[in-house]
């Protein structure tokens, strides 16, 4: 049923092959596998720059997006990516599906497999849900964000974007600021950035930091601090995270005002970082809260480019995973 034509449109410079059935997080990826994703994404980026911007490489493959939580960019990005490769796409959300009738995740994923899904892209509100799904289906599962755990495709598109601007991440300082404890983006970024040899500083209010993640890795390192101004010293890249207003009600921050006072990425603070430092945000943004509007749309900002690159990186992942299935 699945036919993967080895189109000459997509050529990668590496001999390494993708083997994993699923992409659940970035923490199991080797530096070589990350390199393979990024190299393939460069080829996809080139495809996207053509007048038509589509190939038929994944013709006959069925990609299902299964979203238990709302999403604009991740779901749309995956749909565009799959269609750009010629795959058939089915979009499911929890509302309007049998999930509302109480169908379990395992039953849903098995149903999708029986329908003929080759790849299921999943967004779920509970940490670890894609692991449960992946254990109970032969379809490939790509984690499109699970609870407060991981968002591997976001981390890979972030790394892709960084690489296009700063080259190698070896020895570069990346500051991730915000509600790191509850951020699936921050966690997945930490693993890819450390694998790339970067020095990552996780910064935010003490109640929103994963203090145990600090330490020296094989390639890079991770520091955890509450002092944003100090963290910004020598920073090459600053990534602000969305702060949820509910954190105030649960007592994790005194107020958004107090949060802004300590952790908003604004012009004054960006001055502390290295000249020309990249400004990133996984979206959706609360402009004026975690990031000042002039910075979000300023010279160093690559926030919109992150979204554009997301399509190329997701094309690369769909391509690698689907081709591995066909082998």
């Amino acid at each position: 049923m699945l036919e993967v034509s080895n189109s000459d449109a997509i050529s990668t410079a590496t001999n390494l092959q993708w083997h994993a059935k699923d992409l659940l997080d970035t923490d199991t990826l080797t530096p070589e596998e990350i390199e393979l994703v990024l190299t393939t994404a460069e080829a996809m980026h080139e495809v996207r720059s053509r007048p038509v911007g589509k190939v038929a490489t994944l013709r006959g493959a069925t990609v299902v997006t299964l979203f238990y939580e709302q999403s604009t960019r991740t779901r749309a990005s995956f749909e565009v990516a799959a269609k750009a490769l010629g795959a058939d796409v089915v979009n499911l959300t929890a509302s309007g599906s049998s999930v509302e009738k109480g169908e379990s995740l395992i039953d849903t994923i098995r149903t999708l497999e029986a329908i003929g899904a080759d790849v299921v892209v999943m967004r779920h509100g509970k940490s670890g849900a894609p692991y449960l799904a992946a254990r109970h289906t032969s379809a490939s599962v790509i984690n499109g964000g699970d609870g407060t755990h991981a968002h591997p495709t976001q981390a890979l598109l972030d790394l892709f974007t960084m690489r296009r601007h700063v080259g190698s991440l070896e020895g570069k300082k990346v500051v991730i600021v915000g509600d790191v404890l509850h951020s699936r983006v921050a966690r997945s970024n930490l693993w890819t950035l450390m694998a790339a040899g970067a020095s990552v500083t996780l910064c935010g209010p003490a109640t929103l930091l994963p203090h145990t993640l600090a330490g020296q890795g094989e390639h890079g390192r991770c520091d955890v601090t509450t002092n944003f101004d100090k963290a910004l010293e020598g920073a090459d890249i600053v990534m602000a995270l969305r702060i949820q207003k509910e954190r105030q009600n649960s007592g994790l921050i005194p107020s958004l005002r107090e949060y802004i006072r300590g952790y908003q990425l604004n012009a004054r603070r960006l001055q502390i970082a290295n000249p020309g430092a990249l400004v990133m945000h996984p979206g959706p943004m609360n402009e004026g809260i975690e990031i000042a509007p002039d910075i979000a749309h300023g010279l160093g900002s690559v926030i919109e480019e992150q979204v554009t690159n997301g399509v190329a990186v997701r094309m690369a992942l769909l391509y690698l995973i689907t081709t591995a299935r066909a082998r």
Binding site: L24, D25, D27, T28, S104, L105, I106, H124, K126, S127, G128, A129, Y131, L132, A134, R135, D146, G147, T148, H149, A150, L181, H182, R184, R187, P210, H211, T212, L213
Partner: protein, 439 residues
Amino acid sequence: MTALLFRGGRVIDPLHGIDRVADVLIDGVVRQIGTGIDAPGARVVDVAGCIVVPGFVDLHTHLREPGYEQKGTIATETEAALRGGFTTICAMPNTSPAPDSASVLRSLLETIARDARIRVLPIGCVTRGRAGKELAELSELADAGCVAFSDDGSPVADARLMRNALAFTGAIGLPLSEHCDNPTLNGGGVMHEGRISERLGLSGQPTAAEVSAIARNIELAEATGAHLHIAHVTTARSVELVAEAKARGLHVTAEVTPSHLFLTEDAVFGTGREAAYDTNAKINPPLRTEADRKALLRGLEAGIINAIATDHAPHAIEDKLCEFDEAAFGISCIETAAATVFTLVARGELSLATALRALTSGPVEAFALRSRVPGIGALTPGVSADLVVVDPSLAWTVDTAAFASKGKNSPLNGVELTGQVRHVVFQGELAHSLELANA
């Protein structure tokens, strides 16, 4: 009834300080312990290389009946306990209805009399419906036959209500077994707060939630003079607080589960990333750190912790085959409990004497059960015999599909353990035997 002669085992009775190779003759009661016993007509069981000890006593078991029979019944879970070497278990009251009145307790006792394979001693509720609002009718429950009081997994959060409860249970003279937890600090965490919870993006239960509740309850035990039994201590600080309370002469006892002695938070992470978010390792209180595990072993060795209690918690498949946040808390462990403890002994992490004390005389003394069941937890000639024969060096692999328990929820499935229960005698009868079919 055929008499039984266990020949050539290592007979250990922690209460009486017996530890020697001997024969044990049983004809309803323990008739004789000695060497070269000749008993014509007795069924002879060669137990050379095995340990012969009093039947194990569990202070903390979940039988699920009435109300949750899909998870377990008194028949299935007492059969599981029997296979695990237990001849007496104390049943926790988190059933539906909960035994918060004498009538519910009497009905429970009737089912126990009909279905239980071993001795089941029920624990009554502290508060009505275990809701933590109003006290249950404690003295009537005591008269109906409960051996302790507990609201099980629902801590008595209200400090004044807890003080009043202890004032009553102290006057009655029965232990109050408390799941010490501070719900507002715990915050609905699904595992231990630390390295693994931050890695997996799961909400964590901080150590301080347990420790602060223990500290509060010890103060209330002192103020009332009541007997506070601290269920399943899991942290190093918990052990220190219990030690201090005992040193000050308070009537405080404590138990630890085999799961917390054997496993750490790493079990949630799983052995490979594919196995991450193992809901079978989700337990309340949660599996803690390696430093905590070591402290629990030391606390047990030092006698600070009185007993190993299983917190056996069988669940139906669907209760665990779901997202980690949604999964039920608890491990089905009564069939593996003794083996995990013997594995710790084999690894040199726990002394044999301590392990056996914590499974026999330790729990009996903690709940003062000897006044209720003569001879329990010991091998006393002339007294009704509960006895277990364990091969301490036999290695076997856990297969949850083979559990007698309805609960197959164990993170130990496929794990090799050292030490196996071979025979169990309950009230003088061979109730379970791996070798002697149709026993």
